[in-house]
Symmetry: D2
Subunit: 340 residues, 4 copies
């Protein structure tokens, strides 16, 4: 880190900072500028609380230099991570092929999930999404079909070979979800539910980690770091849009995060244009854009009857729209030397 002193900071104040640096077991280098002095701190300060310097008289502010995450960083692991999703299957996220995960917002019935599963499989999906436990903003809203939903997802996998991706909302749900699902999803609202992250770090299945509603990329990668530090390095990052002042979308989808996350981290990145826009008429163009931006995959809500969907109808597309879109997606992937 670099500690920037105020103009006119006294030698005593600078000395105080220097002594604090030494107390932390780190080294310092003092740079006397024409207007300000800065104290550069040398050594691994990731586990130090840099903000304490801001309490010292004469200190203007503190600038961190080192990214606080390690295991998720591309500096630590240079090669890009490829995550196999299911033993005995070639489904994976990362690598040349753009992986597509599709399915309804909520698992509503055995028939519904199977019908959609067959349709998206045929069009080229590798994974089936569908919520059994649903985080809902209102306590009066439908809360999911629970363990029944999980069983129906597993049945759909048996019939189609699709990998099952579903959300786990709480530590106590992990055993049930792990029994039926292949990839465990952490929702945006739980991205900083640290107890849940630690528990998921202690189990072996891949985790699809959604970016929080207003998370920075550093916070996002630190959430991945919670999983990795606890033992689970099979982490898929999912950009799902952020909260901004924009009104025509449910969330603003910032696709530049895709190449930036690829620069900062070795983990694969998928995009969720359904939540990333919240409007079905914008989903298809954003799926195309996500692929062109270099995403390793995307996850999209597909419903056989959106106007009767129990949840998120407004952002779901139909199986026909999905199949049609997959055609152009394949051509875009080829245009940037990938497959879909």
């Amino acid at each position: 880190m670099v500690v920037v002193m105020r103009a006119g900071a006294t030698p005593d104040q600078i000395e105080h900072v220097v002594s604090m640096v030494k107390d932390m077991g780190l080294k310092e280098q003092v740079i006397v500028g024409t207007e300000r002095t800065v104290v550069a701190v040398i050594g691994d300060d990731r586990q130090k609380d840099s903000s304490v310097f801001e309490m010292v008289e004469g200190v203007e502010r503190v600038v961190p230099i080192l990214a606080p995450y390690k295991m998720a960083s591309s500096e630590v692991k240079k090669s890009r991570t490829i995550i196999p999703l299911l033993a005995g299957s070639d489904a994976r996220i990362g690598g040349r092929k753009v992986g597509v995960i599709a399915g309804p917002c909520s698992v509503e019935s055995r028939e519904q999930i199977k019908e959609i599963a067959h349709a998206v499989k045929e069009a080229g999906a590798i994974g089936l999404r569908g919520g059994a436990y649903k985080p809902r903003t209102s306590p009066y809203a439908f809360q999911g079909t629970g363990e029944n939903g999980l069983k129906w997802l597993a049945e759909a996998r048996e019939e189609t070979g699709l990998v099952v991706v579903t959300e786990v909302m709480a530590t106590e749900q992990i055993p049930a979800v792990s029994e039926y699902a292949d990839v465990l999803q952490v929702g945006a609202r739980n991205m900083q539910n640290f107890n849940l992250l630690m528990a998921l770090g202690n189990q072996p299945k891949p985790v699809l980690l959604k970016r929080g509603l207003s998370a920075t990329l550093e916070e996002f990668l630190l959430a991945a770091e919670y999983l990795m530090k606890n033992g689970n390095t099979q982490v898929i990052l999912c950009e799902r849009g952020i909260r901004t002042y924009e009104e025509y979308v449910r969330n603003t989808l910032p696709l530049a995060s895709v190449p930036e996350l690829h620069r900062l981290s070795h983990l694969p990145v998928v995009v969720d244009p359904s939540h990333g826009t919240g409007k079905s008429h914008l989903v298809q163009d954003m799926c195309r854009a996500a692929v062109a931006a270099g995403a390793d995959g995307w996850i999209v809500e597909v419903h056989n009857d959106p106007a009767r969907a129990w949840t998120d109808g407004a952002q779901s597309i139909t199986p026909d729209q999905f199949a049609e879109m997959m055609k152009s997606i394949k051509r875009i992937a080829q245009a940037i030397d990938r497959d879909a």
Copy 2:
């Protein structure tokens, strides 16, 4: 809700919307404008997924009319709620007196918490804050003193009479935190941890619910509704700042939320200017402003040695600064016919 049709929507499309409304068990009224038709939906549509209408051909958008929360709403309960914090004590939040809760970010040691507790008690605080379980952005950061911290807090209460307010991060921590604390705090990152909210709704102690980092007031009140619907109506709303593009603060503190929450809800509202700014040099002015804005209380980080605090040093003020500030706070409270 009101369903706005596109210009040029056909009679069939309008009829489709009308039939969906009837299928929901609600009534409709069709208003034919000069340029557009809108379908007004009559009846309690709070538990309906209004977004499904957006999937119907010819529909432009859907405008909700009824607020989705009930128990938290000032329409349901007209009188303002006053929350007693501890049996046998007159400490409460709500009512004429502005309640002040102060203490360190983290409980670091028995000595630290007792020293601070005595200092803030003397200056006029009614509650003692201090984290034993700490939600930390980085897995490498200090994670709290846990149950020891809880015990030290309880000891400080015995000596000072201050009410103990501390965070509970996960369902499994509720028994331990309930044993020692008087008010259970839900952190901003957990505002939409619905499983935690439901569990806290099932226990009797008051809950201090922090606004999420980018929560709307509607989402905030729906989080309170989760607590209330599950049986716990002792909810204190806490504005702690929101994430914006501003750079000189850790969060932007939008004090207009105080009178607006008072308008929408009967629940008391406190303000946290420590997290709401993240900078100790801004905390005192924002405490004063919060009182002038009508807050029922505030919660502030006070540390006996901020430059050596284990966490959040940069936003802590000293006991002397706290005592000094309390003097002007009392005068401001009187200026708006309240006490502090």
Copy 3:
């Protein structure tokens, strides 16, 4: 518009609203719900100040129904607008071909602009960008080469046939800029400089209108409406990123605005990934994504020596990078049945 009454609004209050509606020369329809009454206003209320209703006792809020812009709206003109950029040239924005405008942030010298012009022409650009008058955040920063810069741009056009696109910052600059340039650009900071917009509405050359730093799409289209209402319908909308809390980019580039603007308006939409990210290492992926999202063109900063650029070096790419990127852009355009 729809006027939503508070729960418990009195008949007198509702009557007051109704009489205000009639005073405006409009008609009303009162919908009595189970919990609230709403008053629907029938007729063209675009020029009425709807907010006055919010001052009436018993009114909760007002919901606009009609978009306030007309000439820019796709409801008024169904066919997509194609804008020829230069008489006697086939350069245009809109239509099947994706138009590419490239060049340095600032025109620095005759040699610089000509060298870059030849390079981008060869790689497939149709337009040359370059600022002669520069809006700079700091008064101490380089303010542009002014009329000299304009002349050099015109010389580059003579040699290459590229259309010249450059910014006009003030009404008094319009004559000079019009003399040399083919497309007049309104910068993001001037999107709501209404006097400038009205003046540009009174001259015949096409205007490239940049979205303001935190403009809504409605404000953006109303800025276009200022140009169109004053007589100039040759408006190109340019998405250049918005201000959010994100830190790894100069601006967040919300590509969903492209299909949404296409839905709301008949005007063509181009994207500026240079300002939309502010980082050269993100520009190329975002150019690709913009095309896949359906943009009618893009505008990008290209500099022959970015590390020595007088302005915006950090977001400029080199001519070689530009040429390389154009190859994949052409393939992506074909993948969605367009040309580039």
Copy 4:
């Protein structure tokens, strides 16, 4: 500035940065950390484009150290600036007394402005606001009464002694506005209309500069610097709210900017809670909070008949509400040892 190299940057890359620093006429100091090297740049780099370093291979990012504004900075002028508003009057902004400016959004008629002027004068205002030239989002909205409005404002000054504050939207309006008004206001949408700022820097009357809709404090102070560098040091900063995701307000009012601007700059700071909330029911509490936060004044919209106001009715308060509020304002000012 500090140039942070990537992990693994080569000696050649570091040397390249060093040579660029020297080419700029500045000095460097290289700090070799355990994981990264940083190059500290010594000297006044305010007029250098620091972003060019980001184009150099091996550079991670650049961190500015010096604030780019000078004349507006509290480092250059330690004593707080007090701005007399009118020769021969004791009206001023800055100093112990909190100055109140009140009046309608728009000057609608001679009678209207005089009636309001007398009312606010009686309640304690020192200035009269009112727009004659109105920046309107829609070209179809009322655009102001123009020079007539200016004359009526001047007449109201003659009768009441109130200082006249009104907006100037364009360079060509400066002569007329200067003739009638005492303080020239730059609206939020024009905060970075640099040509207008330069022109206003060349005239002698005080300028009330509104913060842009999404301006950082640095951009805000640089806009002030444009005025000051061109000769006009009589600048009043006005916080009027920023654009965020919040929906219950027209803008989010971040009152922590008041003490922060006081820390960064010697210029006085006033607050506009009318635009800062957009809702009349929030205005009064925010006026009180602004005073408690340390504002040197506030500016508020008062209308004798808000429900019939031509503009901004929803955020206007009545003369009676204004007079009532002034009573508590005076008590709050006294509570922090100021007057109102």
